[in-house]
Symmetry: C2
Subunit: 363 residues, 2 copies
C-alpha cells in the first residue's frame, strides 16, 4: 500500500485508539471494538465521529465519569424484543450488544427489536444497521442526541439531530445503506460554516426569536436548528415528526432521557432535571426470509438499484445517488490513501498520548 | 347535533359509500370497513382520501378490474412476521387485515410485522397505525404509491410520495400520531395550486430538465416532485432515502411492484413491465410492555407531550405543533359541523348513485 503524505495508515490510528481505551481499563475486546467503530467513521468520510470523538470522550474518561467495565443487563424481554441497560459507558459498546441481541432474536422470531438506555454517543448510526447485512437481515438503528432542533412552531431546542440508519442486503449490487440525521445538515456542518466565518444559506437555522437566519453563529445566541424539510411550508413538520419518533423509540421507550433532557453529548455537568438514564438507542433486525425467499429478494433489490442507476441523471451529475454509494466509495479511497486528521485532532491526540504515556507521532 | 348548511352528516355519507360497495358485490363487512376508512379521511381533514377516492375507484370497479370477494392468503410466516397477498381489491381491506395480523403477532411475540403485496390504494396511512393504540402498542404503517418523485441527482419520477405513519399510546394526553408523505407536500396540494392557476414557491417541483420551478403544471410536462428536504443542499437526499426505505419494505420485500413500476393508482392500462403484483404496504405493531411497563411508558409519553406543549411558541402561534393534534381537532370539529364535499365530488357522487340506483342528494 502506497500512503500519500500526511496521512495515517488505518492500523496506526486503530492502535492509538485501542491504546487510549486500554489505559483507562477497558477490556481488550471493548477497546478494539470502540476503535473499530471510530475508524469506520474515518473511513466512511464522517471524521466528526472518528478519532475526534474519541478525544472528546477523554475528559469524561479522565474524570472517571464513565464506566470502563460495563455489564449489559437485559431488563425485559419477549421473543422479539429486549430492553438493555447500557451501564453508563461509551455508547458504542451497548449499541453493539443491542444490535447483536436484535439479530439473535430475529434468528428465532423473524425480527428482533432492542431499546437501550443509560448510554452515551455511539458514533456512526450506519455501523450498527450494517451489522445485520451478513445475516441476510434488514438492519435498523437510531439514537436520540443532544437537543438542538426546534419543534414546528417552536423557538426552543427540544430534540437532537436524531439520526436513523437502515441497511438492506442485496445480491450483486453493494448493499443499500441509508444513514442520515433528521435535520437538513448535521451540527458539525453548521460548525464548519461558523469556523470559516461564512453564511450558510437559509433553511438550516433560526435565531432565538424564530426569525429565518443564514448565520451559523445564532446557535451560540439562543438560536436553534430546523428539522429536515425546513419551515412548515416545506414540510419541516415531517422532519420534526421523524426526530420525535426517534426520540420516542430511543428515549421514552427505553427509559433513557428524552427531548430537552438528553444530556449534552460530552459536557459536564448534567442537567438538573433528568427523565431517565443517559441517552438511548433503538435497534432492529428483520430476517429477509421471514417474509420471502432471500435470493429472490436480493435479486429484486439488485433490480431496484440498477433501475435507479440507469435513470437519466440531472445535468452535472454522472448518476443518480444510491444510498450507501458515497460512503462506500469514500471507504475504498481512504483505505487506499490513508487517513488525514485535522491539525487540531492531531494536536489533541498528541497531548492525550503524552498524558497517558503512549506513542503518537504528529505528521 | 346541529348541522351547518351545505354539509352532510357522517352517517349519510357512510351509508352512500357502503351502498356503492354493496352494489358491486362486496360483503357487508368489507363495504362498511371501506366506508369507515374513507370517512376517517373526511373527518381528519384529508378529503383527497375520502369520498373522492371512493369515486376514483368507481371505474375500476365498474370495469371489473378489482376483486370484490377477496380472500387474504398468508404466504409466509414466522412468530413475528407474515407476508399477505392482497388479492387485488381495494387496498383498505388487505391493509386492515395486515395490521390485524401484526397486532396478533405482537400479542405473542412482542412485535408483529406484515408485508402486503397485490394491493391498491389504502386511503389514509394513519388509520392503520392507529389500530395499534387500543392494544397498548406502537403502530407503524407505510405504503408505496404511483411514481412522482425524483431520486437525488435524477430527473425522473421513480418513487411515490410514499407515506409513513407512526402512532404511540399515551396516558392523559391524546395519542401521538404522525402521518406524513415523504415529500414536502402531497400530490393533491400541487394539484390545488394548479387548479387555482397559482405559483407554489420553490422547493417542491422541478421541470423535466431538473431546473428549479415554482410552476405546478411542470408535472404535466415531464417534471417531477422533490423528496422531503428539497434539493441536495437542504437534505433532499434524506427524504429520498425515506421514500426508498418505504418502497423497499412495501414493494421489494412484499413481492409487489416497486419504484417506477408501481401501477398508477387508478388509471388503466397497467404498465407493460411489472416487477410484482399491484402496490405494496408494510405494517408493524410493538407491544409497549414488550419493552417496559405500559403505565410507566404512558406517563413518560404524557411528559414528552406536555414538555413540548409548554415550550414557548414562535410569534403568531399559540403553541408548538404536537403530531396528531391538527387531525384530532379537525375530527372533533367536522363530526360536530358535518362534512362539506367539493362541488365536483358531489356531482360525481350523484352520477354514480344514479347509475347504481341508490340515493344521493345534492345539497
Amino acid at each position: 500500500m502506497t500512503m500519500i503524505p500526511q496521512t495515517y495508515p488505518y492500523k496506526y490510528l486503530h492502535e492509538y485508539a485501542t491504546a487510549v481505551l486500554l489505559k483507562f481499563g477497558f477490556s481488550d475486546e471493548h477497546a478494539k471494538l470502540c476503535a473499530t467503530v471510530f475508524m469506520a467513521a474515518e473511513l466512511r468520510g464522517i471524521p466528526s465521529h472518528g478519532i475526534m470523538r474519541l478525544n472528546d470522550f477523554y475528559p469524561l474518561l479522565a474524570s472517571g465519569r464513565m464506566n470502563v467495565n460495563p455489564e449489559f443487563r437485559i431488563e425485559h424481554k419477549t421473543p422479539s424484543t429486549a430492553l438493555l441497560d447500557g451501564d453508563n459507558t461509551i455508547g458504542i459498546l451497548p449499541a453493539h450488544r443491542g444490535m447483536q441481541i436484535a439479530i439473535e432474536k430475529a434468528e428465532h422470531a423473524g425480527t428482533g427489536w432492542v431499546a437501550v438506555s443509560n448510554s452515551s454517543n455511539f458514533g456512526i448510526t450506519g455501523y450498527f444497521a450494517m451489522m445485520a447485512l451478513e445475516h441476510d437481515m434488514i438492519g435498523f438503528a437510531c439514537t436520540n442526541t443532544t437537543p438542538l432542533v426546534t419543534p414546528t412552531f417552536g423557538i426552543a431546542s427540544m430534540l437532537g439531530t436524531n439520526p436513523i440508519a437502515v441497511a438492506v442486503p442485496t445480491g450483486k449490487q453493494p448493499p443499500f445503506v441509508a444513514d442520515f440525521a433528521t435535520t437538513p445538515v448535521t451540527r458539525g456542518k453548521v460548525s464548519i460554516y461558523e469556523k470559516e466565518g461564512e453564511k450558510m444559506g437559509f433553511g438550516f437555522v433560526e435565531d432565538a426569536e424564530g426569525n429565518p437566519s443564514d448565520d451559523p453563529t445564532v446557535l451560540n445566541r439562543g438560536g436553534h436548528m430546523l428539522p429536515l424539510g425546513g419551515d412548515r411550508e416545506h414540510g419541516g413538520h415531517k422532519g420534526y415528526c421523524l426526530g420525535a419518533i426517534v426520540d420516542i423509540l430511543s428515549g421514552v421507550l427505553s427509559g433513557a432521557n428524552f427531548g430537552q433532557f438528553v444530556p449534552p453529548m460530552l459536557a459536564l455537568p448534567l442537567y438538573d432535571e433528568q427523565q431517565g438514564k443517559g441517552c438511548g438507542h433503538f435497534f432492529g433486525a428483520m430476517r429477509i426470509d421471514a417474509f420471502s425467499d432471500s435470493e429472490t429478494f436480493k435479486g429484486r433489490m439488485d433490480k431496484w438499484i440498477e433501475t435507479m442507476r440507469n435513470t437519466k441523471p440531472a445535468k452535472g451529475h454522472d448518476s443518480v445517488l444510491i444510498p450507501g454509494d458515497p460512503e462506500r466509495e469514500c471507504e475504498e479511497r481512504i483505505a487506499r490513501e490513508g487517513i488525514r486528521l485535522l491539525p487540531q485532532v492531531m494536536e489533541e491526540s498528541c497531548a492525550i498520548a503524552e498524558k497517558l504515556g503512549i506513542n503518537f507521532k504528529k505528521i
